[in-house]
């Protein structure tokens, strides 16, 4: 087990895609300290910015980051195996393009966490920023698989261009949830801000709290007593089922809990 702690408070962002179990495996502490990262425009070594301590009693392929990592970007980028535990806040792009393994964040996480991820698990025991589980700007290939669990709230554009996998949000979601999604599942336990599912052509969004606005390009399709989130979990309804985004000839589904959304009762007359 390798533990990293920041040596100082960082003023400018650090790009540290090398903080990853895949990269650390098979390297001595000295070699790890010599890995190159950038702080702003300067290239420095990992050892310049962090204390690197090895605990050889634990053989687990685990990297523990303790302290404030909110300025450290791209931790665990493209990681295939192993586990990263961040005891503190995580920066932007954490777990970007994750292809396996597990990242646990015991704090808040920045924007683009888990963006374009393919496989694996990210647990965020705090809030997560904008564009969580989404795509690089302008790209139309988003998260393809895996699971992201967020205990707190999320920002805007979460799960945009989602192509697979599951996102479970235990708090509330910001605007443009599941923007342009084509497959996969997003579950919001609390409220959801407006324009959820804009441009969606497939997949499903489940909202257990108040839906701020149902896009006018969605049509009601029925009422369902319960919905499957993934193999282990169902959401108890009844739910209004909306179909859309019809402006894109989409067949995505938005499930909105009937009990918390009395404003949507007007749709029932179309059934």
């Amino acid at each position: 087990m390798i533990t990293l702690t920041p040596k100082r408070i960082f003023d400018v962002p650090i790009q540290a895609a090398c903080i990853s179990v895949d990269v650390f495996t098979g390297k001595s502490v000295e070699e790890i300290k010599n890995l190159l990262i950038t702080e702003g425009k300067e290239t420095i070594t990992l050892g310049d910015a962090f204390n690197v301590i090895e605990d050889s009693t634990i053989e687990m392929p685990t990297v523990v980051l303790t302290g404030d990592f909110s300025k450290v970007k791209r931790v665990g980028q493209g990681m295939k195996t192993g586990e990263i535990i961040i005891n503190g806040d995580a920066g932007m792009h954490t777990g970007e393009k994750l292809a396996g393994g597990k990242i646990v964040i015991n704090g808040n996480s920045g924007g683009w966490t888990g963006c374009e991820m393919k496989k694996g698990l990210i647990e965020i025991h705090g809030n997560s920023g904008d564009y969580t589980a989404s795509t690089y700007r302008g790209t139309s290939t988003g998260m393809k698989g895996g699971l992201i669990i967020i205990d707190g709230d999320v920002g805007t554009n979460v799960g945009c261009y989602l192509q697979g996998g599951t996102i479970k949000i235990k708090g509330s979601a910001g605007r443009y949830l599941g923007y342009h999604m084509s497959d996969g599942t997003i579950y919001v336990e609390k409220d959801c801000a407006s324009r959820a599912g804009a441009f969606m052509i497939g997949g499903k969004i489940i909202v257990n709290g108040v839906m701020e606005l149902m896009m006018p390009t969605f049509t009601i399709d029925g009422i369902k007593p319960k919905v499957k989130i993934d193999a282990n979990q169902n959401a108890q309804g009844p739910f209004y089922v909306f179909l859309g985004d019809l402006a894109e000839h989409g067949t995505g589904k938005i499930f909105v809990l009937k009990a918390t959304n009395s404003a949507l009762a007007t749709y029932e007359k179309f059934l």
Partner: protein, 565 residues
């Protein structure tokens, strides 16, 4: 200025009928000369290497408003191709739409020294020139979109071609351009009203004109102005199955202008205009019909607009075509616009896939045309960068042309339906290095009327490319891969007598020139109050701010032309 002597290379210079002979090329003061003093000259030992003139690309969208909009539309394109700076070169990005500096570097590394920017809306000319200024190492020229320009249409409708010619001459000067570009004549004007034209004889709204009138009118004007290049034509119905008939009709419409000396029209990226079949399901190649026509007639030249199977960005002034492409392509991001009284524009990211039947047939059409048109002086190599694929994929296209084996290797991975429909298995022709030099430099320079480019004769500009290809010891058709690599990475590129690429790396950066025509008409263009009041009424730009002024161009090369009107 330094003197350079390139010794013992295999020289391919079709303009001067030199086919791989071992000879020396001497350079002094930026020109090819008969001989230099060996003691003073820098000697380049080119033994075992191929020496050609610097490449001349006659159709590549490298600058202008549509290119820049494409860059803004596609951050996803940049992220996969970031270029670091070096001590000499600047950083940049770009996969399908490289940034300005990277464009210059990559062209230079391929041994290209002159590139034509074929689509410039007059209103956006200042922007285009500012971008061209930033493209180093290559000479550039732009073609102004004039096929739907109101004053041209009005004068053609009035049958006053003299006045039309004077207006065009004024426009060529005002936009600092080199040729007349016609895109989907009549279609762009119709697009302002949400419509398009579907044949040469459809009416253009409000003008009482047909596309045929516009093409014939401007072809006439082109000869009246003694332009070095012909009209540069993007046909009607581009990208629609069955459009090869329109293309042949267009060529037939120009037959009567041919005087027996030089071509009167150039159809660009003809691959996109050579589709047969009634609809996308019955889509097939119309290459044979087009090639037969071209083999029987001498008044046209074409470039192929080859598809290279890349995730690229399509961009054209043909707004209605881009809109139909958007409707085909599903849920993609897009830009579409009407450029006031002059043109329109559209941009859509598009991935050409081997496994897609239509895309694979399109790939096949480009190659079929290049192989079936017998005279290489009529058919030129382009990818219509970035529409068919980025320009630095040219070596792949060369390989498909000079090696049957390379074609077969790609065809094998293509869609099965497309494989059955492709005519490629029946075509045995393989391009020689001599023919490759024609379709990439000698022929294009000749078609453009650039007398000092594209060859290595005495007095020519000292633009030279040296490739690591030994035609004596290698069978290029069999060993296509190393030759392809060699074409992508020139050992030396010499621009105006200065070595800019050495051992496949950029060693010097210099600005390239912007070539433009100063067409002198006998009488000046009638710029009266009526014209100015029209500008007030219909343009968002004041007449006085409209022309490109000299300070917009860093290194201009003005070519004076005497018109016959």
């Amino acid at each position: 200025m330094t003197e350079i002597l390139i010794k013992n290379g295999f020289v391919f210079d079709p303009t001067n009928k030199i086919d791989g002979q071992k000879m020396d090329i001497a350079i002094k003061d930026g020109r090819i000369v008969k001989k230099v003093n060996e003691c003073n000259a820098q000697i380049i030992d080119a033994s075992g290497l191929t020496v050609m003139a610097g490449g001349v690309d006659l159709h590549s969208h490298i600058a202008g408003s549509e290119v820049n909009l494409g860059r803004m539309l596609r951050p996803d394109d940049h992220v996969k191709d970031a270029v670091r700076k070096t001590a000499l070169t600047r950083s940049g990005t770009g996969y399908s739409i490289p940034s300005t500096y990277v464009t210059g570097y990559r062209y230079s590394k391929m041994g290209y020294t002159s590139v034509m920017n074929p689509s410039m809306a007059a209103m956006k000319a200042k922007h285009a020139h500012e971008e061209l200024n930033d493209i180093p190492l290559i000479d550039k020229a732009s073609f102004t979109l004039l096929g739907d320009w109101w004053f041209a249409l009005e004068n053609i409708a009035k049958d006053d071609l003299d006045e039309c010619a004077r207006h065009i001459a004024w426009m060529i000067r005002a936009t600092r351009s080199y040729a007349i570009k016609i895109v989907n004549p009549g279609g762009l004007e119709s697009w302002g009203f949400g419509r398009n034209v579907h044949s040469l004889d459809d009416q253009v709204p409000n003008f009482g004109l047909t596309p045929r009138d516009i093409i014939k009118g401007l072809a006439k004007v082109n000869t009246m102005l003694n332009m070095p290049h012909t009209i540069h034509l993007h046909t009607n119905n581009l990208g629609i199955p069955g459009n090869y008939k329109t293309t042949i009709e267009t060529m037939q419409a120009l037959e009567s202008f041919y005087k027996g000396d030089k071509p009167v029209g150039h159809i660009t990226h003809i691959q996109f205009s050579s589709f047969a079949g009634d609809n996308w399901a019955h889509f097939k190649s119309g290459a044979a019909e087009i090639a037969n026509y071209l083999n029987a007639h001498n008044h046209m030249t074409i470039d192929i607009g080859q598809v290279t199977f890349a995730d690229t960005t399509t961009m054209t002034a043909d707004g209605p075509f881009e809109f139909s492409l958007y409707e085909l392509g599903g849920h993609n991001k897009w830009v579409n616009s009407d450029v006031e009284t002059e043109a329109s524009g559209g941009i859509i990211p598009f991935e050409f896939k081997r496994k897609n039947a239509v895309n694979a047939i399109q790939w096949s059409i480009g190659l079929e045309l290049s192989l079936m048109v017998k005279d290489p002086w009529k058919v030129f190599m382009t990818t219509d960068h970035p529409n068919g694929g980025p320009f630095y994929h040219y070596p792949r296209v060369f390989a498909w042309l000079y090696s049957r084996k390379a074609r077969e290797a790609t065809l094998k991975n293509c869609n099965k339906k497309a494989q059955k429909k492709s005519l490629l298995p029946t075509l045995d022709r393989e391009y020689t290095l001599y023919e490759l030099a024609i379709i990439t430099r000698a022929g294009t320079a000749k078609a453009l009327g650039l007398k000092d480019k594209g060859h290595l004769g005495i007095g020519a500009e000292a633009d030279v490319a040296i490739y690591d290809i030994n035609p004596e010891t290698t069978d290029i058709a069999q060993n296509y891969k190393p030759v392809r690599r060699a074409f992508g990475n020139a050992i030396y590129t010499i621009k105006d007598g200065e070595i800019v690429v050495k051992d496949k790396e950029i060693v010097a950066v210099r600005p390239g020139r912007t070539i433009w025509l100063d067409v002198q008409t006998k009488e000046p263009c009638r710029i009266d109050d009526e014209l100015k009041s029209k500008f007030k009424k219909y343009w968002t730009i004041e007449f006085d701010n409209y022309p490109v002024t000299d300070h917009y161009i860093k290194v201009p090369e003005k070519i004076g032309i005497k018109a016959s009107v």
